[in-house]
């Protein structure tokens, strides 16, 4: 019998945040350990040696047949709804999907698909600043993201990942300019799309 204390604390940004519950070659889905413990859209995450970019997220009832009802009529704050109903923290799950953008092998990082998908129940970590910088030395992942088949439009996904990564670099502008150049090359025949992404970088 596994009993886990409920609550709303959010995991430390550098720690283990979720666990893989579905894995394909191009995508994996993970369930967060904490309700709302979701990584931001576009964040770089890693499970085992597989890297992914967070491409969509949702908070849904643990059981599909149960529908939430409004509970806050008599309380002043949203926090009070959870304080008055502590079971709620145990009855919903936050999960996210990540597009596979590469993998590591020893010290080397490759920005193309790994031979095998992520492992079920694999722990998912939010990559720290250094790991993000190392990964984003190369921008080959942008091509993978542009072709990703996910619910979020690829333009949103590409721009979100670049905004997230640029914050980890000492010179965010230089990083974004380099990425912009790369995108201009990849989207040389699709100016509206390029403009759509560039317009979302700030």
């Amino acid at each position: 019998m596994a009993l886990v204390e409920g609550g709303l604390t959010i995991s430390s940004p550098a720690g283990k945040i979720a666990e893989v519950i579905e894995a394909q070659t191009t995508l994996f889905t993970a369930q967060c350990y904490e309700l709302y413990g979701l990584p931001a859209l576009g964040s770089l995450v890693r499970t085992g040696d597989v890297y992914g970019i967070v491409a969509s997220a949702a908070t849904v009832p643990l059981e599909a047949g149960r529908r939430p009802v409004a509970l806050g009529h008599d309380v002043a704050t949203e926090e009070a709804v959870f304080r008055e109903n502590p079971q709620l923290g145990r009855l919903f799950r936050s999960e996210f999907s990540a597009v596979v953008v590469g993998f590591r092998e020893g010290e080397r990082v490759y920005q193309y698909l790994p031979a095998l998908p992520a492992r079920i129940h694999g722990f998912v970590y939010l990559c720290g600043d250094e790991e993000v910088r190392t990964f984003s030395r190369s921008l080959g992942f942008l091509e993978t993201l542009l072709h990703a088949v996910v619910a979020v439009p690829p333009e949103e996904l590409v721009s979100a990942s670049l905004r997230q990564m640029s914050r980890k670099h000492a010179d965010p502008d230089a990083f974004l300019i380099a990425a912009g150049k790369m995108l201009a090359h990849l989207l040389s025949d699709d100016y509206p799309r390029l403009r759509s992404i560039l317009g979302r970088l700030r």
Binding site: M1, G6, G7, R66, E84, N85, P86, Q87, L88
Partner: protein, 398 residues
């Protein structure tokens, strides 16, 4: 074939029509009951003695705290915990080769106040040993198979045992409501030999209640069971005794079948009908004690008491053991916290709702269990001798 609903629709509407016609009679019965209750409140001692001297064919409540008294709920403590368990089971399938059953117990610990938290869990337990499948008399002889009604009773005992475990793990000083769904009285055992009740009530149930009473020495622990929309008539039956024209009622001797009786004016009423008229939302009724045979002969110091509670939506019956009933603080805690649970749970105790959600076994769960059983038998190279009837139901060939 799907149900041809048009063939029964006429009868369904006729039933509703008959109920509507009887509405007037029912109102008259309720008024008579309320008048009787009011009159009896002034001469309680006489009524108590009459009950004690009477021999009735129906179950009569014992007066403990009055009859028409009403009590408002006390304030809810700042910090408190509610624990609850509920169960679900897969019965022995007599069409299957392997005899076994499964009980899934849902348990909930909810802490409210300055540091709120919740723990929800479900624990399945498989029973396949001979000792699990049959209750045997002490000196040997023909045992009683644990299935059907008896498995339901065993499950109720397991729910109590799970609640005892939860209570045992709570830190000293906590104010706790321990909640179960349904009655604390193990109804239905009268149909079985005495040794079955010796085991299930005398040893198992009372053993758990002893453990809880012990826990209540170090925690403020109120054990209660909650019955939604109760069908009980113990208090109405008290009024039957009150209106009985003879000094001491003796149903079998004085009122043979077919004879018109003074108490017939109260027929069809349930206790909830009375208290829905007398209690205001949040109030509880007076406390009563159960005079049922099984409680009086087997529950000992845990004699079951009960009161009715107006939850705001309905009248619920709350049952507590004597050591809660006799401790004013625990009794008031049960009243205040059950009401609070109903408020948080949209009319039904939220802890019981979540315990049920943890315990419930879906059709798919049941199918998975059957598949697992069949796989295990196949792996052991045992024949899967399911009955022809069971196979035909599953395959549904054309």
């Amino acid at each position: 074939m799907p149900l041809d609903i048009s063939k029964v629709a006429g009868e369904v509407f006729a039933l509703a029509h008959r109920m509507r016609e009887r509405h007037g009679e029912r109102e008259e019965a309720i008024s008579f009951a309320l008048k009787t209750m009011h009159e009896a409140t002034g001469r309680l001692e006489g009524l108590k003695q009459k009950v004690a001297a009477s021999r009735t064919t129906y179950l009569v409540a014992e007066i403990v705290e009055g009859l028409g008294e009403k009590f408002a709920a006390c304030a809810v403590p700042i910090d408190f915990t509610v624990i609850a368990t509920d169960g679900s089971h897969i019965d022995v399938d007599r069409h299957q080769a392997a005899r076994c059953y499964l009980i899934n117990t849902g348990s909930v610990v909810m802490r409210y106040g300055t540091s709120p938290a919740a723990r929800l869990a479900s624990t399945p337990r498989f029973y396949g040993d001979e000792a699990d499948l049959e209750i045997t008399p002490p000196g040997g002889g023909r045992g009683q198979a644990v299935e059907g009604t008896l498995l339901g009773i065993k499950r109720a005992v397991e729910e109590l045992r799970a609640l005892l475990e939860l209570a045992g793990a709570l830190p000293a000083g906590t104010e706790v409501l321990g909640l179960l769904d349904g009655s604390l009285i193990l109804w239905g055992l009268e149909a079985y030999p005495e040794f079955v009740a010796d085991v299930l009530v005398g040893r198992e149930m009372v053993g758990c209640l002893d453990g809880m009473k012990e826990i209540a020495r170090r925690l403020k622990f109120a054990l209660a069971s909650y019955i939604s929309y109760p069908r009980s008539t113990d208090v109405v039956n008290l009024l039957r005794v009150a209106v009985c024209p003879v000094e001491a009622a003796d149903c079998d001797r004085l009122c043979p079948p077919g004879k018109e009786r003074a108490c017939d004016r109260l027929s069809g009423l349930r206790d909830r009908d009375l208290f829905f008229r007398t209690l205001l939302p949040g109030e509880r009724s007076a406390l009563f004690a159960s005079r049922s045979q099984i409680v009086r002969s087997r529950y000992g110091v845990h004699r079951i008491h009960f009161y009715y509670l107006h939850t705001g939506d309905e009248i619920a019956r709350v049952e507590v053991p004597a050591w809660v009933a006799e401790d004013r603080g625990l009794l008031e805690l049960s009243h205040a916290l059950i009401l609070d649970q109903c408020r948080r749970g949209q009319g039904y105790p939220v802890a019981l709702m979540e315990a049920h959600e943890q315990a419930v076994l879906s059709t798919r769960d049941r199918e998975n269990f059957r598949s697992l059983l069949e796989s295990a038998l196949a792996e052991a190279r045992l024949p899967l001798t399911a009955s022809g009837k069971s196979t035909s139901k599953r395959i549904r060939w054309l």
